[in-house]
Amino acid sequence: MADPILELKDVCRFFGGVRAVDGVSFCVSKGQIKSIIGPNGAGKTTLFNVIAGNMKPTKGNIRLQNRNVTMLPDYKMASLGVTRTFQTIKIFSNMTVLENVMIARHPRSRAGFFSAAFRFPWMRREETSLIRESRKYLEFFDLLGKADHPAHTLPFKEQRLLEFARALANEPVILLADEPAAGLNTRETKDIAALIKRIRDTGVTVLLVEHDMSLVMDISDEILVLDFGKKIAEGTPEHIRKNDEVIAVYLGRRAEGA
């Protein structure tokens, strides 16, 4: 596979006796939209947590742009370009819309306690450019008009958009989107699909966990299917649609015995 951004090799995560993720290996190539699907409890979110650095893998190896990042904590992963959005929206409700995006520029700015307290000239310049850059991201998501609103006053869908704006402002190499369509209606889901494609077109690789099959089939370049922590299939949407084991997992176990 050409130009792998993210490579997982035999990644495992056990919780006591539970093998939540069990020997998963795959690659995500640059500019791809790759989706991870699987029934409830298949280990999708755990896998996401392991990649994003929220959890350490029990075994295995994770490489980001040919660099070993297996044991790095989540905030370091974020500064290296692995940014995630959450299944339940996690915007900073105590800040304005603009400030939410400015936080995402945290790893790309450097004012500390001391320089902030004394407002050095470079720190003021950094602040001004932070605001300018952040407004650019809000503009991309059509949120500029609400830049100074408290973030918690936004309607649900715009909170999702804000989460994406914030994630993009982090300048990710790869965006991990955990069920971006959760809680949205059909039309809004279509908007999200278009949005994810637009994000991909800006050069960001996307790794997606999603339950909405039509969304996954529509936008994915490649799909990975997990069941009980194990990879059972990987390939293009057409390939996955025809895969017997995937059909068995989704429609019931009887097919296996037959």
Partner: protein, 326 residues
């Protein structure tokens, strides 16, 4: 929030502070105001920790005490310059805050409260038990704590103490306002809102939590040093658990999430008992009733409540328009 100018309220406050002694002539009342200044310094740090970063400390009186004892012992027993002792006190406190904060700030909520409470008790026991160093329960009596000298003035009278303490407070207040309205302030508030999301944005939350814990410890230590040179006597009593609780109460009553609230809270909780002396035996009752009233009807504290009032006066539609224009 970024656009609102932070210097206008600061300038207004500066004028009030400078002009207050013209109206408060009674040295006793001036003394009360000096105490308000000293406690405001502690609550400002605590407000950064509680209101901004969302962490609690029930041991802040210990940092306050460490500053006071460091100043007392280093100037009294060791004959250091008060300024040097003050710096040493802040340095010692910072180290202790780092040592205590690094493991305990991994805890959350009630557990963090318990850990800091335990720390406060340990420090208080140290003040009580290290009789050779601190003088034990009867306080530091080995030598008289000297007056502090600032350039050529000796800070002795109530008026000079007032200007000295509030001068330092004003400087620290300005630095604090700067920190709040910066990348650091945003990082702290993001921790308050959602730690996991903050880390997902690349904020090293553990480092920031310890950092703000240390900074608030330094504020408390500085306040403690000022206290030692003002009262010129230190004993373990004002640095115990009750004082820690009082400090937290000041921050909450004043209004969390605002530095101005921290000053308002300190002012109210120090001036109120003095003002209520008039009621003699009933003063505690009325004091309690007032606190209860604030907590019931002004959940945002004094400062939050006054902000709400201001919004009502200015009418909300007008503000919406302003936000659109911006």
């Amino acid at each position: 929030m970024m656009k609102r100018n932070i210097y206008i309220p600061y300038a207004v406050f500066l004028m009030i502070v400078l002009l207050a002694p013209m109206f408060v002539k009674n040295p006793y009342y001036l003394g009360v105001l000096v105490q308000v200044g000293i406690f405001s310094l502690v609550t400002m740090g605590l407000s950064l920790l509680m209101g901004y970063a969302g962490q609690i400390s029930l041991g802040h009186a210990a940092f306050f005490g460490m500053g006071a004892y460091a100043s007392a012992i280093l100037t009294g027993t060791c004959h250091w310059s008060p300024w040097l002792a003050m710096g040493a006190g802040m340095l010692i406190t910072a180290c202790v805050a780092w040592f205590v904060g690094t493991p305990s700030l991994k805890l959350k909520g009630h557990y963090l409260a318990m850990a800091t409470l335990g720390f406060g008790l340990i420090v208080n026991i140290f003040f009580l038990a290290e009789v050779d160093l601190t003088g034990g329960p009867s306080g530091y009596t080995f030598a008289r704590i000297p007056h502090i000298t600032f350039i050529k003035w000796t800070i002795k009278s109530e008026t000079s103490s007032y200007y000295f303490v509030w001068g330092i407070l004003l400087v620290i207040l300005l630095l604090t306002l700067h920190i709040i309205h910066s990348r650091v302030g945003r990082a702290l508030r993001s921790i308050h809102a959602d730690e996991e999301a903050a880390r997902a944005m690349g904020v090293n939350t553990a480092q920031y939590k310890v950092g703000i814990f240390i900074l608030s410890g330094i504020y408390a230590s500085l306040a403690g040093s000022l206290y030692a040179h003002y009262i010129r006597f230190v004993a373990p009593d004002p640095f115990g658990l009750m004082e820690s609780v009082l400090l937290v109460t000041m921050v909450i009553v004043g209004g969390m999430g605002s530095i101005w609230g921290a000053i308002a809270g300190a002012a109210l909780l120090i001036i109120l008992p003095e003002a209520l002396r008039f009621f003699q035996d009933y003063n505690i009752l009325i004091y309690g009733a007032i606190l209860l009233f604030i907590m019931l009807f002004l959940p945002g504290g004094i400062f939050g409540g006054s902000q709400m009032l201001w919004l009502l006066i200015r009418k909300i539609p007008g503000r919406r328009q302003e936000a659109k224009d911006g």
